[in-house]
Subunit: 249 residues, 2 copies
């Protein structure tokens, strides 16, 4: 009888990790629980080299780790992107699930598409820019007096919960999810429409981009919905472009 | 509402720990999950001194740690002594429970008496002599190819499971949902934009209306998302209206 749930579709993404010991510890926990696909985004180079050169139990995970310069690239093939946060209600723009609930959702989702789970850097966690790529967040319940976990331990606890075998779950309401690169295409497309319409000005563009990125990830779009929205935006853009520079008050 | 089960009656016992980083990591996880009573048996003295001298989040746990020379003394006041093992059936003299089952038993037991949970030394785990002090064992399910966990991570996972509250949490998923009338307002607004842009023609209007209505209900919008979208649509409409009837091919 298998001891663990299958985690082949899970991508563990470490963003801006500083400490080689934490990279090694995360990789070891991954190897323990059978999550073998590590992606590192913008790691502190010395730490990454040092961790990779280590021999030992997690060497396979580290040597096959993929390196990316942006989080968007690291999650481009993923249908669900889940962030991790120490704080229960850090950010009202995202749903926050307790780890056990979130893990059940992730397991369901992995039946249909790759899922990324993101751990931020040791000092600061995930930035607002990182969070904009996440569909929702999980948190591990800890004491109010000491919320923040060590990175390697947080990875271990998360993978323990994800690999937990449980009774099969009811079918997923989300077939055919949008993968990250398609969501990013839709993000750029909506942003373009908002620029053409004057909703996004050069001064507000950065803030609007983050707002749009979050909004589209909160919506649980499937691939067909994304196509539908892209078609609408194309037509609106065409119409907006066809009559430039004649705004009336 | 408490996030964690009460672990005041738990004693975490580290037997012959060699590495100060592991002592520190175990103490940090204890502090995270509210298990504040650390007992060390026969630690490598240098490691214990080094770990104790560290400042930081787990300093309280380390400075109040009790030191013993034998396991028997360390568990003298405990009504239940539970060992930990990486191996499923190492020892036919003990019952071995999977962590989640074992944790449920430990929680029950803590209602009546102090419980000790023992972690062996990094290299060799618990000796046969140590095991003789244990009522039963727990193991954390890991891959056959890589059974042995890092000590600090094993402590973290074990305490995560022990501190788990079994009571169901209300789902945090949908704060502040859009009420039906607001969704309908958004539906009409998007439909209006699609008409202005030429996406919806008089012939397709009925079909498009249904498509838009379904689309917006599949998205799990909250009230603020709906406001945001309405604002975008208002601006797009204004721009579309400001230049009527001049489509270019």
């Amino acid at each position: 009888m298998p001891q663990l749930a299958e985690l082949d579709r899970l991508r563990v993404v470490l963003e801006s990790t500083r400490n080689p010991l934490n990279l090694g510890a995360a990789a070891r926990a991954m190897s323990n629980f059978g999550a073998l696909r590590l992606r590192v985004v913008n790691p502190y180079e010395v730490a990454f080299r040092e961790a990779r050169s280590a021999v030992g139990a997690a060497a396979d995970v580290l040597s096959s780790a993929e390196e990316f310069t942006t989080l968007a690239e690291a999650v481009a093939d993923c249908g669900l992107v889940v962030g991790t946060t120490a704080i229960h209600y850090r950010d009202l723009q995202h749903s926050v699930h307790r780890l056990d609930e979130g893990a059940a959702l992730v397991r369901q989702y992995m039946a249909v598409a790759p899922v990324a789970i993101i751990f931020g850097c040791e000092k600061t966690g995930l930035s607002n820019e990182d969070l904009a790529h996440c569909h929702w967040l999980i948190h591990i319940p800890t004491r109010d007096e000491h919320l923040s976990m060590n990175l390697g331990q947080a990875v271990a606890v998360t993978l323990y919960e994800l690999s937990r075998l449980s009774a099969p779950l009811a079918s997923l309401d989300q077939q055919d999810p949008v993968i990250g690169s398609e969501l990013e295409r839709l993000t750029k497309s909506l942003l373009n429409t908002l620029q053409l319409s004057g909703y996004a000005t050069p001064a507000s563009l950065g803030a609007t981009e983050e707002k749009v990125r979050r909004l589209l990830r909160r919506m649980s779009l499937n691939a067909r919905d994304a196509e539908l929205l892209l078609g609408m935006l194309r037509q609106i853009d065409w119409k907006l472009r066809s009559n430039p520079d004649k705004p009336k008050p």
